[in-house]
């Protein structure tokens, strides 16, 4: 038996013993564990499951054991993922600390900084949010105006951020601030971390067209942050920001990956099943044109999944994220948007309810209502994390090497 075989055997046995039965089903949206100081465990077993996994570092399997991670190599982590999938185990923890900040800290932070922050991410003790966009800046991320002025061994931060996901629920923020005002705009930015409980920080949720409020406006009014909380070199925050945006894109393109699967989108079955159910069809979808559109969508989804695989394989060969991340982000988002538009067509007026006014949901079932809300939410996919337009610019210039008219303009 190879090492990997025995690792698989051990992993399987450990999971068998430690993963509660209740954690082997898909999590409803409100059962997802985000961790943090005010963590909510709607299902009591989810706390047990998180603690057990965190103790082994398996919330972050490939991160170094030195900082609390699992210390697994790529092959082992793949086996862990396969074994978890085999029993349908839920991810024990969702967090921007894991998907975005952590990888960047591991690459760019000092040993002390890692020691301070990584273990808490692994254990889900601190929930992070991202302070990038600013009101009025939009895609022009580098045009940010939040100021950090050195005052002894602290920075005094003033300004505001927008589109901060879950800022009202987060404990700490990783934030882009301007620390040099004399240089071109990309050059004077620093990447800094601070506690959201620091005096002067306030948040205000933004209500979206879907009726939900996952984003906030965040205001900084003379917020004092220790200077040692800067990550990487002072004024070199743009480098870190770009790196982090790549991780964000990779995460968002996952929307498209799952959009081909049968389990998503609110309505129980797949897209084609939904269309058939709402038409009373059994063998074949009776609307031939919708059938063609769904087939086209599913072919694209499958092709997209193969492309993500291929991109991951290429990234492994060339080490590090590759040029396709912009393309994957965009295609994934467009697929997700297409999926919800098709779901609306699949279910007709039953997918256009806003809320149920009856006790027994005889007007609109909860799954139907969530289709409408998620459809509205999906429109943001091609705006957040670098707009559709910005990604196309990136592909055109970085991947295809086409000349840059904006640079010509900026040079004026």
């Amino acid at each position: 038996m190879t090492d990997l075989d025995s690792f698989r055997e051990d992993t399987r046995a450990w999971l068998e013993e430690n993963c509660p039965a209740s954690m082997r089903t898909p999590a409803a949206e409100d059962e997802v564990v985000w961790g943090g100081r005010n963590a909510v465990y709607k299902h009591p077993d989810s706390r047990i499951w998180l603690d057990r996994m965190a103790a082994k570092g398996w919330t972050c399997p490939t991160w170094p054991a030195e900082y609390g991670g699992g210390g697994l190599d790529k092959a082992q982590s793949l086996i862990l993922a396969e074994e978890m999938q085999r029993i349908g185990a839920r991810p024990p923890l969702m967090s921007f600390g894991i998907s975005m900040l952590g990888p960047v800290l591991l690459e760019m932070a000092t040993h002390e900084q890692k020691l301070e922050h990584i273990p808490k991410i692994v254990r889900g003790e601190i929930r992070w949010c991202q302070g990038y966009s600013e009101p009025g800046a939009g895609s022009d991320l580098a045009g940010l105006g939040t100021k950090a002025i050195l005052d002894g061994d602290h920075y005094l931060i003033n300004g505001s951020k927008i589109w901060t996901s879950y800022a009202d629920k987060a404990d700490w923020i990783f934030c882009l601030v301007r620390t040099d005002f004399e240089v071109p705009k990309h050059s004077g930015i620093s990447f800094i971390l601070f506690d959201m409980q620091t005096p002067g920080v306030s948040t205000k949720p933004i209500k979206l067209i879907s009726g939900n409020s996952v984003f906030c406006e965040t205001f900084f009014d003379d917020v004092r942050v220790p200077a040692r909380n800067v990550i990487g070199s002072l004024n070199d925050g743009w480098t870190i920001a770009k790196r982090l945006l790549q991780h964000e894109r990779t995460m968002i393109s996952g929307f498209g990956l799952s959009s081909g699967r049968n389990s998503r989108g609110g309505l129980g079955g797949s897209l084609e099943q939904t269309a058939m159910t709402y038409r009373g069809d059994t063998d074949k979808l009776s609307d031939p044109v919708l059938r063609d559109q769904i087939a086209q969508f599913k072919i694209d989804s499958e092709a997209f999944a193969f492309t993500s695989q291929r991109s991951a394989q290429e990234a492994k060969l060339s080490k590090g994220p590759n040029a396709t991340s912009s393309m994957l982000k965009n295609y994934g988002c467009e697929l997700n948007k297409r999926r919800f538009e098709l779901l609306l067509q699949a279910a007709g007026t039953q997918a256009l309810g806003w809320e149920s006014l009856t006790a027994d949901a005889s007007d609109f079932a909860p799954e139907e209502l969530s289709v409408a809300r998620e459809w509205l939410r999906s429109k943001g996919n091609s705006i957040e994390g670098g707009t559709y337009e910005v990604q196309l610019n990136v592909i055109a210039k970085r991947v295809l090497g086409l000349p840059d008219m904006t640079t010509m303009l900026v040079k004026q």
Partner: protein, 381 residues
């Protein structure tokens, strides 16, 4: 036939536009939503519109209307579409009044049309039975009784049912769901025992309800037209409804487009107005082109309707309008949000209301696929 507005029409457009901008901006719909208003439209606002003659625009003079024609009604609908005014124009004026006028007896017309034109009566149109528009697929049953008929069945997604004093009900008196023969129309008081109105909360915040008919007994005089032969009047009614709804959609589309172009001129990124970016310019130019086609279709269909008995090709024109408007409405509502970026995603901004209304209007009275299919059949392929 003229596809450009004449002096009278331009004046009407101007006055309807001012009225909607001043008296009925999107804030009115927002307020209806936030206060969970049960009626679905502000009564006093509707009365002001009635006072402007909007309710009687397509009703014959002898029944208290103004005979300004469908082109006039279309102009009004276009303007209400620009600010998403919640009104019973579609339910009562486009659909029910048309059905009564086309199929009703003189007594029925005399009773209801003047009341409608005067804003005293709201008549809901009860047709759909499933999640998709399918007018021949009626199965709500009308069985002959000694005194008249007994109705049994359920109607879904009935617009303005909560405010209605009467219903036009599309029922089956013989045959099976899918047959065009055997369809009968009824006009009845909404208080008739056995009727249950169950309000719906829809994404577009307009008023709709599911309405069930449980042993609803109506007199023989409730029949609208001839028993079992309601299909031709129903089809024409629906076509007029589709053309009018297309006019409303045209207004919404133009409003979103104009707001978007305005935003492209104001918003700066990377030091320039984003409207200077050629990719956005081309997308805007393509949208403009599609909207021009929509305008022509809607005007053509409306002016054809106004030729009365000489009207030609109405079914195909109605399907062309609805098919094209659905397609362009999807395009513009999506591009509007995308080009506005984050702010377009916020509830505080009006754009979301247009997006939500767009999808409901797209489904109503047949979506793009329904109408392309119908158009192909009408054109013999």
């Amino acid at each position: 036939m003229s596809l450009v507005f004449n002096e009278d029409q331009l004046m009407l457009q101007e006055s309807a536009r001012s009225f909607c901008r001043e008296q009925a901006p999107v804030a009115v719909l927002r307020n209806m939503r936030d206060t969970k208003d049960a009626l679905g439209f502000p009564k006093s606002l509707w009365q002001s519109m009635v006072d402007l003659g909007w309710a009687g625009m397509a009703i014959p003079e002898v029944y208290g209307g103004f005979e300004f024609g469908y082109s006039g009604l279309g102009i009004v609908l276009e303007e209400t579409g620009r600010t998403l005014v919640p009104t019973p124009l579609v339910s009562t004026i486009l659909l029910s009044a048309t059905a009564i006028n086309l199929a009703g007896s003189d007594a029925q017309k005399t009773t209801l049309l003047p009341a409608i034109a005067a804003g005293e009566s709201i008549v809901a149109f009860a047709l759909e039975e499933g999640a998709f528009h399918n007018p021949a697929h009626v199965s709500l049953s009308a069985v002959k009784t000694a005194e008249g008929y007994e109705l049994n069945g359920v109607k879904k997604f009935v617009l303005d049912a909560a405010a209605a004093d009467h219903f036009v009900v599309v029922a089956r008196s013989s045959g099976y769901a899918g047959d065009t023969n055997g369809i009968s129309l009824f006009l009845l008081d909404s208080k008739t025992p056995g009727i249950l109105v169950q309000p719906l909360s829809m994404v577009d915040s307009r008023s709709a309800a599911n309405v069930s008919f449980d042993k609803v007994n109506v007199p023989a005089g409730a029949l609208l037209g001839i028993e079992g032969a309601g299909w031709p009047a129903l089809e024409r009614t629906l076509d007029i409804g589709r053309i009018g709804l297309s006019a409303e959609m045209l207004g919404s589309i133009q409003e979103v487009f104009e707001r978007t172009v305005e935003y492209l001129k104001q918003r700066t990124q990377f030091g320039v107005q984003i409207g200077a970016f050629q990719a956005l310019q081309h997308r805007a130019a393509l949208m403009y082109s599609e909207i021009e086609l929509c305008k022509s279709l809607v005007r053509k269909a409306l002016s054809e309707l106004d030729r009365g008995d000489d009207a030609q090709d109405i079914p195909a024109l109605a399907s062309m309008c609805k098919a094209k408007l659905c397609e362009v409405s999807a395009l513009i509502s999506n591009e509007g949000v995308q080009m506005h970026g984050g702010i377009g995603m916020t509830d505080e901004f009006d754009l979301g209301f247009f997006l939500k209304r767009a999808r409901v209007a797209q489904q109503m009275l047949g979506d793009v696929l329904f109408h392309r299919d119908r158009y192909a059949s009408l054109r013999g392929f």
